[in-house]
């Protein structure tokens, strides 16, 4: 049981490049989330999904897109990376909604030059 995994662990991009972050969970969870963590700002929700084929915007969705084609996977895309998107990105999943424990992946450190 791997829990929540994220790939890649670290990435450096140039401004304007695109990339996709992959999150996978093997706990059969319905809900999945993407957060970004910046110093002094805690965890801010980018997008989330309440089930396969669904996505919704969080607090800071601009510049990001997501897809949930399979229940176990939640992809976060950056179409044209900007230095302001330099951050640590965490994926999380929960069995059913905000009243359940969220299980976090190990994070992806992204540096945009």
């Amino acid at each position: 049981n791997a829990g929540v995994t994220q790939t890649p662990k670290f990435r450096v991009l140039k401004t304007g490049q695109s990339m996709t972050l992959l999150c996978a969970q093997d706990m059969n969870h319905e809900y999945m989330y993407w957060y970004r963590q910046d110093p002094g700002m805690g965890l801010r929700l980018i997008h989330y999904s309440v089930g396969e084929g669904t996505t919704a915007k969080g607090e800071v969705p601009d510049g990001y897109n997501v897809s949930r084609l399979k229940k176990q996977n939640f992809l976060l895309g950056l179409e044209s990376a900007a230095p302001s998107q330099t951050s640590v990105y965490f994926c999380a999943s929960s069995y059913a909604g905000a009243h359940e424990t969220q299980y976090f992946g190990p994070g992806t450190r992204l540096l945009v030059l």
Binding site: L43, L45, A56, A92
Partner: protein, 110 residues
């Protein structure tokens, strides 16, 4: 929208001392969760509080939910080096997502 505020942002503690970190919401919360993130790690769930006035203990950690369900606190007694990390509270603005506070980062002087 709902905001969850945490104070203090930083807590420097002498080993063996006690401290408390506080979490306040602008709106009533249906529940509140606490997470701990070790340096370089990811957030890990500690506990969830649901009832007004609820108090839960985990060894040296005591969690409390306010009577009005708009605030919460985490009290750690006899701080140890293993308590180092950032503690986040998170409230539920709706059934789908959590709103995290900015966290309290704890360092311990041996």
């Amino acid at each position: 929208g709902q905001q969850v505020m945490q104070i203090p942002q930083y807590q420097h503690v002498q080993e063996g001392e006690d401290f408390t970190t506080y979490c306040n919401s602008s709106t009533t919360l249906s529940n509140i969760q606490w997470y701990k993130q070790r340096p370089g790690g990811h957030p890990v769930f500690l506990i969830q509080l649901v009832k007004s006035g609820e108090v839960k203990k985990q060894k040296r950690l005591t969690f409390q939910f306010g009577e009005a369900k708009k605030n919460s606190s985490l009290h750690i007694t006899a701080t140890q080096t293993t308590d180092v990390g950032t503690y986040f509270c998170a409230g539920t603005p709706n059934d789908y997502k959590l709103s995290f506070g900015a966290g309290t980062t704890v360092t311990v002087r041996a």
